[in-house]
Amino acid sequence: MAPKNKNPNGENVVPEVQQKKTQALILKSSDGEEFSISKSAAGLSVAIKNMMEDDCAGGVIPLPLVDGGTLARVITYLNKHAEDGASDEDKRKFDEEFLSGMEVDVLCDVALAGNYLDIRGLFHDVCQRIVNGMKNKSVEWVRKTFRIESDFTAEEEEQIKKEYAWAWEGVDSDAD
């Protein structure tokens, strides 16, 4: 956990940000947006926790790899999971709804952020979600969804499809 009685840096905090708890810090996204978050919620990210412990932050932690939109989502997640009264069941329900509304590129951004910030539960859930989406889908679907150009030559493509011919047996062909 975060060291509880490190210098209370209330003065340094941007004034317009609402501070619910005394122990708060600011996360700054790659595009300069600032978010206030309680230390207990931020501490669920191992990476942020380490930064807090190193006290490199002085109240503001820059996260140059996470854009504002993604960071807002991550903070929503952290806040829920740090909520005192939330039962595991609540959290599970929240996670389900939280992820079900996301498009695949948002999911991937959140996965990257979850990995970078080392939030294990979030990262795991997002990966699982991405994989579940791929089940019973065609290769074409995967390419389209993830916007990947096949760089196989025609021979390579034929070769690999032949190698995995078994994977297509009995697959429902999916339009999309």
Binding site: S30, V46, P64, L65, D67, V104, D105, C108, D109, A111, L112, N115, Y116, D118, R120, F123, H124, C127, Q128, I130, V131, M134, K135, K137, S138, V139, V142, R143, F146, R147, I148, E149, S150, D151, F152, E156, E157, I160, K161, E163, Y164, W166, A167, E169, G170, V171
Partner: protein, 187 residues
């Protein structure tokens, strides 16, 4: 979160793996505070899951060989990543609480988990209603009277399988291996 080398495995055994495209396998997905971060971020907007380590982590969550096989057909990068033996091992050994180390050593010596799955385990597992299943099963092991064939009329639902199927496949794999070895020697 770095990519863990192998779940519960020892490093010495893990070293026996072939890691396609593994040169930078242990780098963090994104190094902190680099100049080119912004550039990387903008690339993500065009294509997602380009990062090899992220892709690997995502594919670690695949629990059926079919999805992994299709992932291998997406692009060269996906193929490299999806051919990682560790991913196939995860699928083959998902019924074990802990993948036995001997199993890994034996399977790797005999051709690997991907081969184990695609040529021996899959024929045991695939949906029964497919009419094309019979010839494939025969070609897998012609001498066996299709003993492991699921009962006809079984529901088409996902085949359930466990350690027995893995063990049976492993036997088939080793028989194949030694068969091949002896035929090579006799030439």
């Amino acid at each position: 979160m770095k990519r863990p080398l192998v779940d519960g495995g020892s490093d010495t055994v893990a070293a026996g793996y072939t890691h396609p495209g593994n040169n930078d396998a242990n780098k963090k997905i994104k190094p902190e505070g680099k100049e080119d971060d912004l550039e990387e971020m903008s690339k993500e907007a065009e294509a997602v899951l380009l990062d090899e380590n992220l892709l690997y982590e995502v594919l670690r969550h695949v629990d059926d060989g079919r999805t992994l096989a299709k992932a291998a057909c997406v692009s060269r990068q996906w193929k490299l990543t999806a051919h990682d033996e560790r991913l196939w091992e995860l699928i083959c050994t998902k019924h074990y609480h802990r993948s036995p180390i001997q199993l890994r050593a034996v399977v790797l010596a005999l051709g690997g988990f991907r081969r184990l799955y695609s040529s021996h385990l899959w024929p045991l597992l695939k949906p029964t209603s497919s009419t094309s299943s019979a010839p494939a099963a025969v070609s897998t092991w012609p001498c066996l009277p299709l003993a492991p064939a699921p009962p006809p009329g079984a529901p088409r639902s996902k085949a359930r399988w466990g350690k027995d199927e893995v063990n049976l496949s492993l036997s088939l794999l080793s028989i194949k291996y030694f068969e091949k070895m002896s035929s090579n020697r006799s030439k």
